[in-house]
């Protein structure tokens, strides 16, 4: 890292700093001159959007923590105090709550992009697994955050989800008691969830650093799935990717702002405006929308232990994708049959999400089981088999060839882009 010849600082201060802590050179080589495939489309901007949303959640969260009281007798009222008394408290609370939704939406889009273009394939397996770890951390953080307002949904979601661990044979009950810190969800539970909810986002930030590091080792994937062969097939990250990221970030913020300012409670559940009552369970407990697909899978299996295992498996199986997909072709652009199964998978995920919000009866259960079966079959049967039997379209030899057509030497007629 020291003596990085790419970065030549102009100002005396930067020269002084660079010799002692080469952070200028690190930023320069990672985010300014970093070679980025020139054919990336807007689906590649969601990594930047996710980093931005993490920053939003941390900043709004730290600020909300200045006014929130993590005690069962005061938590609900402290949230109302934030909404009514604290300067801009209503804005901070709605930003944080809707920010969580925007965070998960971006994460799911980001993951679907990876699945479509084969971004999980060799040599990006560790990058993909770090991503699954990030998803798990997000799920835990979001769950604990939702408990903090101590509404009816907060309390009963905490009860149901912690009770999942009781399905584990032999040690299950002990684990649940250990999680609760008592005989039921209560004051100890709320306090420890507050502590961990404050902690985990910083763990997420650390894993994000690893995630970006792993990305930079392999380089970005691109819509053709063919690695850049020459310098001409890449552009400097700044200004090209930076501006593309910033643009879609702005558009995404418009969507975010629409929720925050016009329909801030649309994605939430009105029952959470009722203070927690340990004696009365709401008639229809549902988690927030971003957990609904997993919730539907859990409820689709009629056996307690197997349902919990299916829930865990539905997330963990994603980590095995690089080995389950046997196709030598990366991008779905050249895999017409795979593409159809992929879109059915997306429909299955959305369908499971919708079914998760419905009461577990009648046809809802039937379709949840069908979609759950497809979900697992996609990973365990369809992908392994498809990679071996499908007829793929011819993969271009290079990115340039995919744009200009065949018969042209690499980089011959394309003028070099303006480099930083």
């Amino acid at each position: 890292m020291s003596g990085n010849s790419i970065y030549q600082p102009q100002s005396p201060f930067m020269r002084w700093l660079e010799r002692r802590l080469p952070i200028g050179g690190l930023v320069y080589s990672s985010f300014i001159v970093y070679p980025t495939p020139r054919n990336l489309n807007y689906w590649w901007t969601f990594g930047g959007i996710l980093t931005f949303m993490l920053a939003v959640q941390i900043v709004t969260g730290v600020v909300l923590a200045m006014h929130y009281t993590p005690h069962v007798d005061f938590a609900f009222n402290s949230v109302e105090h934030i909404m009514r008394d604290v300067n801009y408290g209503w804005l901070l609370r709605y930003l944080h709550a809707n920010g969580a939704s925007m965070f998960f939406l971006a994460a799911y889009i980001h993951m679907f992009r990876g699945m479509y273009y084969g971004s999980y394939k060799e040599p990006r397996e560790v990058l993909w697994i770090l991503g699954v770890i990030l998803l798990l951390l997000m799920i835990m953080t979001g769950f604990m955050g939702y408990v903090l307002p101590w509404g009816q949904m907060s309390f009963w979601a905490a009860t149901v989800i912690t009770n999942l661990f009781s399905a584990i044979p032999l040690v299950g009950e002990s684990i649940v008691t250990w999680l609760w810190g008592g005989y039921a969800v209560g004051e100890p539970t709320l306090n420890r969830f507050y502590s961990l909810h404050y902690l985990l986002p910083f763990v997420i930030a650390g894993v994000v650093v690893l995630h970006i590091w792993a990305l930079h080792v392999a380089g970005q994937n691109n819509p053709t799935g063919v690695e850049p062969k020459t310098e001409h097939e890449t552009v400097a990250f700044t200004p090209y990717a930076t501006i593309k990221d910033a643009f879609l970030m702005a558009v995404y913020c418009i969507l975010f702002a629409w929720f925050v300012f016009y329909v801030p409670n649309f994605l939430g559940h009105s029952d959470n405006y009722i203070p927690a009552n340990p004696a009365v369970t709401p008639t229809h407990i549902v988690p927030e929308w971003y957990y609904l697909p997993f919730y539907a899978i859990l409820r689709a299996i009629p056996n307690k232990l197997l349902g919990v295992m299916a829930l865990a498996a539905s997330i963990l199986i994603i980590a095995f994708l690089p080995w389950l997909d046997t196709s030598p072709v990366r991008s779905a652009r050249y895999r017409p049959l795979y593409r159809q199964f992929f879109w059915v998978f997306v429909i299955a995920c959305v369908g499971l999400g919708w079914l998760g919000s419905k009461p577990p009866e009648g046809n809802y259960v039937l379709f949840a089981r069908i979609f759950t079966a497809y979900y697992f079959a996609y990973f365990l049967i369809i992908l392994p088999v498809l990679g071996r039997v499908e007829r793929t379209k011819p993969v271009p030899n290079s990115i340039t060839e995919s744009v200009l057509g065949e018969g042209l030497p690499i980089g011959a007629s394309a003028p070099p882009p303006i480099k930083a």
Partner: protein
């Protein structure tokens, strides 16, 4: 740094776009930053709790001093004896560390009522009433001595004890704040 390979005498469209984007981003950043800073200012419930309070003077005996809280600050309400009033008035004002006549520290016609903020002007401890060589106030933290008018006489405190805003609603009731 980025435009050096294509420098020209005229500002280009790219320059305009950079400056325009930067300006909008700056305005956006200030707009985003403002609520984050403003939220730390006192909130509506804290401000509401700082409304004026009324103190009934009738139960306070001659020579007695009580302590009330207004806006989280301790306020001494001292029913001064005749001796204390005389000692407060018979002073060479010019020789005081923080010159101020006693008449400026009480309401006219109500010299026996002394209302002051019980926070030492040195580093913020609460001075003890009816203590010290002047039978005024004495701060135990660093030894500041105040007289029966609450004026600093000895010790490190730079200023006299501060006065809260107050008025007499009637002869036996004051409103502080």
């Amino acid at each position: 740094m980025l435009v050096t390979t294509m420098s020209s005498a005229e500002p280009t469209r790219r320059d305009f776009l950079y400056i325009a984007t930067g300006a909008v981003a700056t305005v956006g950043a200030i707009g985003a930053l403002w609520p984050l800073i403003a939220q730390m200012n006192p909130d509506a419930s804290t401000i509401a709790a700082g409304a004026p309070i009324e103190v009934d003077l009738a139960p306070i005996a001659d020579g007695q001093v009580i302590k009330v809280f207004w806006r989280s600050k301790p306020i001494y309400v001292n029913h001064r004896t005749k001796k204390q009033i005389e000692e407060a008035q018979n002073v060479d004002v010019a020789k005081l560390p923080d010159p101020q006549p006693d008449s400026a520290r009480v309401k006219p016609g109500h010299e026996q009522w002394q209302v002051l903020i019980g926070i030492c002007t040195h580093l913020g401890c609460i001075p003890i009433a009816h203590q010290g060589p002047y039978d005024g106030y004495f701060c135990p933290c660093h030894g500041s001595v105040y007289d029966t008018s609450g004026r600093i006489r000895q010790g490190p405190a730079p200023l006299n004890l501060a006065l809260p805003p107050y008025e007499f609603v009637s002869d036996t009731k004051i409103r502080i704040g």
